[in-house]
Symmetry: C2
Subunit: 409 residues, 2 copies
């Protein structure tokens, strides 16, 4: 029992720390509670109750099912639910009419077949990527409403009234959700996406710095920072796996109206492209990190010789990344960035020169294996560095285009 | 209008090609239709109707909402729905009783507050990772049922009967879902995961082969195969982004009972580890691919000198990957794999020797830049190759352990 209690206690501690770390999520919980309380008022106030009838239950249900963390997701679900219900209701009424015309004997058969066919078609349509991305929920609601309407139509009279009620209660539920979602501490998917990408850029820059610094052993005397720098180094791993999140966010962001610094037709797809570039950079850093952690170490002389160039190059590239993050954050054009890219390219050329001279210098004094290993661990670095540059220059063009768009809009 | 028609036509064509490519998905659509028809039979047959009453609607709803593509997902949702409904129903009755005791004036207030608090808590709990992974849906159903029971309790008499009916209809719906899901062409999440991982291994092996072969220009005269080999080369990109899918699959696979060659407590987490290793290999291939596509080309002499070693190494590694895929597929231990790893290690050593001798040989005749570039493009390759080997050897230990487990179980 004590073990069980301590596990529960730990669970609560975890939950508390999550709430402290991300208060938005705790606030979201409160918002859902508030929306539900508001909706249940429809039940307690008699005049309203008489107006909407026992179907007010649907409003409660709508709130529970539709209320999502971000405004975009909520809007998306609301629109889906409304369209799905409306379409299915209309179709259901149509099928019901046809079934009625065909005589009492065939009525259930017609209804059964229509349910079977439409449900199968709608379910299959949820697998088609274009539909899955935007109308997955709507297709489900379509099946649900259609089967409810056509099946219950056999029993419940006043079918038209039922459909009408469902629509009006859903309208109440969705409007409540949208209002509470947007008025009290709204969480915009677009904002989150923007923040995620900016954050990822900074993490990448920090990782790139940290990786090389660790390799060339400058931090060797600052062991106290060990854990901290390890965390920084692992930063790029978040970037590696952020694809799914980014896509979901961008998808929801497209549903959102203008808010804050974002206009209605903000080019969210550009964010995905930037995200893809960042991920490619992260792959390079991953490989770089692995190769610097491998057992083959270059001799000290070579290390010292190259550390200057490598570190200057990496700091240049990470500066460019940081500056890009600032640009993204403030959404303004910066004149500094061109200068920085120029500096970075210079650093690349310096490193290449150093490499060329290497083959002359080192042959003289070193042993074979020294050269081989030295070559291996140092020549890997520049190639890794060149790759981000290729990306960053394309990135720059992208970003410049993107920023121009958002400045113009 | 013509444009609109042609778009619709294209849409249907796409859907058709998807259905042909993955007939399982089309069959799934039919299964949902079938389950819905079965459930609606409850409406049409009078004796059943009298038994369950107008609440049979809940059974329809359960089928629509719960029926998922894989058996694991369906089971997971069913269990979640059952537990969530039961817990919330019990709590709702309890709160209702308390509210009743506190007098008519305070009744709505008590109910309101309880709805607010519980909904907020449950919504927040959905953000906690441990709950999100397994009981996300259950928490939603909990909120839904609780608010429905406590809110409608104020109006509807015979509350106990309502709760009872909901439970029994949900039981009917879930059992129908599970039965149709498992009996007719079941899609097991575990199977899909197994297939995904095996497939990824093969893709990686093909990419690794294709990448080096292209670089060393053996295929230069077989341009007809261009598109085909491009597709093979891009295979590793699927591996890069498969993390989210794998995790979802493994999560659902844990819910599934024993089926086919998989036993009940199959070590699904091992699949995730294998998947992570594969992803790391894919990162390396990504970088390798980028560096071989870069503009700096090594002189022909060096290329010829190294192509033998590099290609033999890469073919060894991809053979190991393929053999691993076969092992995974048949789930048996193979004696060949040890031999192959041994061969691969030999190839690594040969390449390293070649690198060592390079510094001696090439200095004599070549120009500076030749050496530099030669070094660059060829020394990158072995490091890339060594990395997979480190992984593969750890992978081997993993796999061996995993296979022993599954053979024993």
């Amino acid at each position: 029992i004590v073990g069980f209690m301590s596990r529960i206690w730990k669970f609560f501690e975890k939950a508390w720390s999550l709430a402290v770390r991300e208060p938005k999520k705790a606030i979201h919980g409160l918002k859902v509670g508030m929306a539900l309380s508001l909706v249940s008022l429809f039940y307690y106030m008699r005049p309203l109750y008489n107006g909407v009838g026992g179907n007010a239950m649907w409003a409660v249900m709508t709130v529970v099912v539709v209320f999502e963390y971000t405004v975009g997701a909520t809007l998306c679900k609301c629109v889906n639910r409304a369209i799905g219900t409306f379409l299915a209701g209309a179709l259901g009424l149509g099928v019901h009419w046809i079934a009625n015309q065909s005589g009492e004997k065939f009525e259930p058969i017609v209804l059964q077949i229509s349910v079977f066919l439409l449900a199968a078609a709608a379910t299959f349509s949820r697998f088609i990527p274009a539909i899955k991305a935007r109308f997955d929920y709507g297709a489900m609601i379509f099946i649900l409403t259609f089967s409810l309407v056509s099946v219950s139509g056999y029993r419940v009279d006043k079918l038209f009234e039922l459909a009408h009620h469902r629509l009006s209660t859903i309208a109440i539920g969705t409007s409540l959700c949208i209002l509470t979602g947007m008025l009290f501490c709204p969480v915009w998917a677009g904002n989150e996406l923007h923040y995620l990408i900016t954050n990822n850029m900074e993490k990448l820059a920090a990782s790139l710095d940290g990786c090389l610094v660790e390799y060339f052993g400058i931090h060797a005397n600052v062991n106290a920072k060990g854990e901290d720098s390890d965390k920084v180094l692992q930063g790029y791993k978040c970037v590696l796996n952020s694809k799914a999140t980014e896509e979901v966010m961008a998808n929801f962001a497209k549903w959102e109206p203008a808010h804050g610094r974002f206009y209605f037709r903000h080019p969210w797809n550009e964010y995905l492209k930037v995200g893809a570039f960042l991920r490619k950079c992260a792959y390079c850093i991953e490989t770089l990190n692995v190769s610097t952690n491998s057992d083959t170490e270059a001799p000290d002389i070579l290390n010292k010789h190259f550390s200057k160039f490598c570190i200057s190059l990496s700091s240049c590239s990470s500066d460019v990344l940081k500056e890009l993050a600032v640009i993204m954050h403030t959404m303004t054009k910066s004149t500094k960035i061109d200068l920085m890219v120029h500096e970075m390219n210079n650093a690349v050329q310096e490193l290449q020169c150093a490499l060329k001279s290497l083959s002359k210098e080192t042959i003289i004094g070193d042993s074979k294996s020294g050269i081989e290993e030295g070559n291996k661990s140092t020549t890997v670095v520049p190639l890794m560095e060149i790759v981000p540059i290729v990306y960053i220059s394309t990135l720059l063009i992208e970003i410049a285009a993107r920023i121009e768009k958002s400045v113009e809009a």
